[in-house]
C-alpha cells in the first residue's frame, strides 16, 4: 500500500473538497432560484424577489451616496439622513461599492452565494475544531441543516436567501457561542476572531447578539456558582466585558443618531402604544419539554450536566422570554415573530443534544427495555404531526398557499423534535440505516436532491410556473437617464405595479418621487410632505389633479414644483398615459421613447 508523504494532511484535503462542494451547492442554488426570477423579469439585473431585500439593497445604495443617505435613499428631500439603528452589512456593502466605483448590486451574487457558504463553513469548522466532532459528519450535518431551512414552514428560508438579515450575523453568533461554551481560544488569531465575532454580532444584528450575551452570562453564572472553575470564570468574565463594551459602543451610536430617522422614532412609539397582553403557550411548552427531558435523563442515567445540556437550556430560554416579552414591555416589538433568526442554531443544538442523549440511552439497560414504547410513542406523535396541517413543520409540496407569514418558532421546533429524534435514533440504532447514512454517494445524492428541490421549490413558490411572465420595461430607459439626467434629479415612476420594487434608485443616481418604503421611512401619512406626494400621484393617475387643491399649491405649476420633480417615467402602453398628458399638457415634454417606456421632462 502506498503511504502518503509525511506532509500530506488528509483532513486538510477533505476540508478543501468540502468547501468546493459547498460552493457548488450554493452556486447551484443561486442559479436555480434567481435564474427563475431572471426568467420572469427577462433579465438577470432585475431579480430582487421581495420587499425587505429591496429595502436592504436600497440602504446600501444610500450608504454609497454622497452625502450618505441610508436613512431614506429614495427621496431628494431626505438626502443626508442616516439610519438610527445601523444596518451594518448594508452600510459596509454600500461603502465597498463606493470605494470600488461599482453598483451595489455588483455584490448581489457575491452575497447570495457567499453568505450561506460562510454560515455553513463557520458552523462546520466550529463543530469540528471547537466542539471536537469528526470532520465529515460536521460538514455534512451543517450542510443538511442549512438546506433544510428551505423545507420548513414560515420564512426560515430567509436565513439562506435574503439580503442582508438574518443570514449576515449568524456566523458571528456561532463562533461566540462555541467559544463561550468550550473555553478560551488558544492562539492570538482565535482570540482576535472571538473578540471580532462578538463586536460583529452586536453591530450586524443585535437581536442575534442577545443569544450570545445570554449564553455567556448564564455560563458565567454556572461556572462561578456550580462548577466553581476559576479559570473559566475569568475567561467568561473577559468575554462578558467585551460584550458590554461592544454593546455600549452600539448603544452610544444609536443615542447619537436618535434624531436622524423619523421612522425609528415613530415605530418604537407606535409599537409601545400597541398594547398586548397574552401568554404564548407553545414557547412555554417547548421549554418545559426541554427541561423535563434534561432532568429525566439526568435522573435515569445519573450523569453530570454536559455542556450541551447547558447550551440547550440557556439558548432555548429565549423562546419563552421573547415569545412572552409583551407581558413585561406591554408590546412584543417583533421579538416573538423574529425568533426564526435562531432556527438554524436551535436545530443544530437539538441535533447534537439528541445524538448525545440517544446514544447514552442506547447504552442504558433500563432505557433499552422501554425503547419499544418510547420509540413507538414518538412514531405515533410524528404521524399525527405530519398528517395534521396545523402542526406539520414542513412545506406542503414546496408551494404554500399562504402568504409571507412568520411561523411561531416554538411551535415549529416542537413539531420538529420528533423528526430529529427519530432520524438520530434510526441512525444510531439500525445498522443498515447507519451504513446508508455513512455512504458517500448517498450523502452526495441527498444533498444534491435537497439543493434541487429546496431552491427549486422556493423558486416555484415565488414564481409559479403558470404565472404570466412580466418582462421589466425600463432597462433602456434607465440607461438613457444615466446618460442624460443629472445626479439626484427626481423621477416619478408611474405604473403602480412597478413601484413595489422600483429599481430606479438602484440602477441610476436619481431619486424617486414616491416609493412605499420611502414613505414609511419618512414617517408615513402623519407628515404633510407625504400627503403632498401621495395626493399628487393619486390624482395624477385618476385624472383629478385639476380639481384637487394640494395644501399651499393651487395652480398646476405650483403642484408640480412644491416637491422636486424632473422626469416622469411611464411604460407603454399604459392606461394612465392619456390622463397624464391631458392634465400636465405644456408642462411636460417627451424626451425619450422606446418600445416599452416613455420619459417626459417636467419643465
Amino acid at each position: 500500500m502506498i503511504q502518503p508523504p509525511p506532509a500530506f494532511d488528509a483532513n486538510r484535503l477533505s476540508l478543501w473538497r468540502f468547501i468546493a462542494g459547498a460552493f457548488i451547492v450554493f452556486s447551484l442554488g443561486y442559479i436555480l432560484f434567481f435564474g427563475t426570477a431572471a426568467k420572469a423579469s427577462g433579465s438577470w439585473k432585475y431579480i430582487i424577489h421581495q420587499i425587505d431585500e429591496y429595502g436592504y439593497w436600497a440602504y446600501s445604495k444610500g450608504a454609497s451616496e454622497t452625502p450618505n443617505s441610508e436613512g431614506n435613499p429614495f427621496y431628494y428631500e431626505a438626502m443626508g439622513t442616516r439610519q438610527t439603528v445601523p444596518y451594518t452589512t448594508a452600510t459596509l456593502i454600500g461603502w465597498a461599492a463606493k470605494l470600488l466605483g461599482v453598483s451595489v448590486l455588483f455584490f448581489f451574487p457575491v452575497f447570495h452565494i457567499g453568505m450561506p457558504l460562510l454560515n455553513w463553513l463557520v458552523l462546520f469548522l466550529c463543530l469540528y475544531k471547537i466542539w471536537g466532532y469528526p470532520l465529515r459528519p460536521s460538514a455534512v450535518i451543517s450542510g443538511i441543516l442549512l438546506l433544510s431551512l428551505l423545507f420548513l414552514r414560515g420564512v426560515t428560508y430567509d436565513i439562506v436567501l435574503r439580503y442582508s438579515r438574518p443570514g449576515d450575523g449568524i456566523w458571528a453568533l456561532i463562533v461566540w457561542i462555541s467559544y463561550a461554551m468550550n473555553g478560551k481560544p488558544k492562539t492570538s488569531l482565535t482570540k482576535a476572531l472571538l473578540g471580532f465575532s462578538v463586536l460583529a454580532c452586536i453591530w450586524i444584528n443585535p437581536f442575534l447578539a442577545v443569544a450570545g450575551a445570554a449564553i455567556t452570562f448564564f455560563e458565567f453564572l454556572w461556572q462561578a456558582l456550580v462548577s466553581r472553575n476559576r479559570a473559566r470564570v475569568y475567561d467568561l468574565g473577559i468575554l462578558l466585558g467585551i460584550t458590554v463594551l461592544s454593546s455600549l459602543l452600539y448603544i452610544g451610536f444609536i443615542w447619537m443618531n436618535m434624531n436622524q430617522n423619523i421612522w425609528a422614532l415613530t415605530y418604537v412609539k407606535n409599537a409601545m402604544n400597541n398594547y398586548m397582553n397574552y401568554i404564548e403557550w407553545p414557547s412555554l411548552a417547548l421549554y418545559a419539554i426541554i427541561l423535563i427531558m434534561a432532568l429525566v435523563h439526568q435522573k435515569f442515567s445519573k450523569s453530570q450536566t454536559t455542556k450541551l445540556d447547558r447550551l440547550v437550556i440557556f439558548l432555548f430560554v429565549l423562546e419563552p422570554l421573547f415569545g412572552n416579552i409583551q407581558i413585561l414591555l406591554s408590546s412584543n416589538l417583533q421579538f416573538g415573530p423574529k425568533r426564526y433568526y435562531f432556527t438554524l442554531l436551535e436545530m443544530a443544538c437539538l441535533v447534537a443534544w439528541f445524538i448525545e442523549k440517544i446514544s447514552s440511552w442506547l447504552h442504558s439497560d433500563k432505557l433499552r427495555k422501554k425503547e419499544f414504547w418510547i420509540v413507538g410513542g414518538v412514531i405515533l406523535i410524528e404521524i399525527w404531526i405530519l398528517t395534521n396541517n396545523w402542526f406539520n413543520p414542513f412545506r406542503y409540496g414546496f408551494i404554500e398557499e399562504r402568504e409571507y407569514v412568520m411561523e411561531n418558532n416554538s411551535r415549529l421546533l416542537l413539531t420538529l423534535c420528533p423528526s430529529i429524534a427519530l432520524v438520530v435514533w434510526a441512525y444510531l440504532r439500525i445498522p443498515l440505516i447507519g451504513m446508508i447514512f455513512r455512504n458517500r454517494f448517498f450523502i452526495i445524492l441527498t444533498i444534491l436532491a435537497m439543493t434541487l428541490s429546496g431552491f427549486g421549490g422556493i423558486a416555484r413558490y415565488f414564481y409559479p410556473p403558470g404565472a404570466a411572465h412580466h418582462p421589466f420595461p425600463f432597462d433602456q430607459a434607465y440607461q438613457w437617464l444615466n446618460k442624460n439626467a443629472s445626479r439626484n434629479e427626481v423621477v416619478l415612476t408611474v405604473p403602480p405595479s412597478e413601484l413595489r420594487i422600483d429599481f430606479l434608485p438602484l440602477y441610476t443616481n436619481l431619486k424617486t418621487y414616491i416609493n412605499p418604503l420611502g414613505d414609511t421611512l419618512s414617517g408615513g401619512p402623519k407628515y404633510p410632505e407625504n400627503h403632498l406626494r401621495f395626493n399628487f400621484y393619486y390624482h395624477l393617475l385618476i385624472a383629478s389633479l385639476d380639481g384637487y387643491k394640494l395644501p399651499g399649491a393651487t395652480t398646476l405649476k405650483e403642484k408640480l414644483t412644491c416637491l422636486k420633480l424632473d422626469y416622469i417615467l411611464i411604460k407603454i402602453p399604459s392606461p394612465f398615459l392619456s390622463n397624464i398628458t391631458r392634465q400636465l399638457g405644456d408642462h411636460i415634454r417627451e424626451v425619450y421613447r422606446d418600445p416599452h417606456a416613455l420619459i417626459f421632462k417636467v419643465q
Binding site: 398594547y275 406591554s330 403602480p496 413601484l499 414609511t520 408615513g524 401619512p525 401621495f534 393617475l541 392606461p575
Partner: protein, 160 residues
C-alpha cells in the same frame, strides 16, 4: 396604566370587529352567490340596509354600520355598497388590518369597481401610508388596463 387599559379596550373592540369581518368572509365563502339571485325585494332590502348603515356612520355607531354591511354582503357578496360601508367604518376606526382584509375579500369575489378602489386607495393611505394604498392602486391599474384593452377590441370590431 389607565392609558394602557383604554388602548387595550380599544384594541379588543377592534379585534372583535376584525373577527366579525373574518366571520363574514367565511360566511360569504360558504354561501354560494347563486343561492341569492337578486329579486326586487332583495334590492329593496339592500338599499334599506345601505341607508341605515350610512345613518349609523353619521351617528358614529360603527359597530352597527358594520352589521348593516354584513347584512348586505351576506345577501350579495360582491355588492359594492356593502364594501363601501365596511371601508368607511374601518377607516373611521383606523383599523388597517380590517381594511386590508376588506380589499382582499372584495378581490376574491371578483369585485371590479373603479370608484370603490379609488376610495380604498385614499383610505388605506390615510390609515397605513403608501405601502397598503399601493395595493389598491395596482388594482386600479389592472382595471384600467382591462378597460383600455376592451375599448381597443371594441374599436377594432367597429372598424371596417
Amino acid at each position: 396604566m389607565e392609558n394602557h387599559r383604554k388602548l387595550w379596550q380599544r384594541q379588543n373592540a377592534m379585534r372583535a370587529l376584525s373577527k366579525r369581518m373574518i366571520a363574514l368572509v367565511i360566511t360569504m365563502s360558504l354561501v354560494a352567490p347563486q343561492a341569492f339571485a337578486l329579486s326586487p325585494e332583495n334590492n329593496g332590502e339592500i338599499a334599506n340596509w345601505y341607508a341605515l348603515g350610512n345613518q349609523y356612520l353619521r351617528q358614529k355607531n360603527y359597530s352597527e354600520a358594520i352589521t348593516a354591511a354584513d347584512k348586505i354582503l351576506v345577501q350579495e357578496p360582491s355588492n359594492v355598497l356593502g364594501y363601501e360601508l365596511l371601508i368607511k367604518a374601518f377607516l373611521e376606526l383606523h383599523n388597517l388590518p380590517a381594511l386590508v382584509l376588506a380589499i382582499r375579500t372584495a378581490q376574491q369575489h371578483g369585485l371590479r369597481n373603479l370608484s370603490l378602489y379609488k376610495m380604498l386607495a385614499r383610505s388605506l393611505f390615510t390609515v397605513g401610508g403608501f405601502a397598503p394604498a399601493l395595493d389598491a392602486l395596482v388594482n386600479i391599474e389592472e382595471m384600467m388596463e382591462e378597460r383600455s384593452v376592451g375599448n381597443t377590441l371594441a374599436n377594432k370590431g367597429n372598424s371596417p
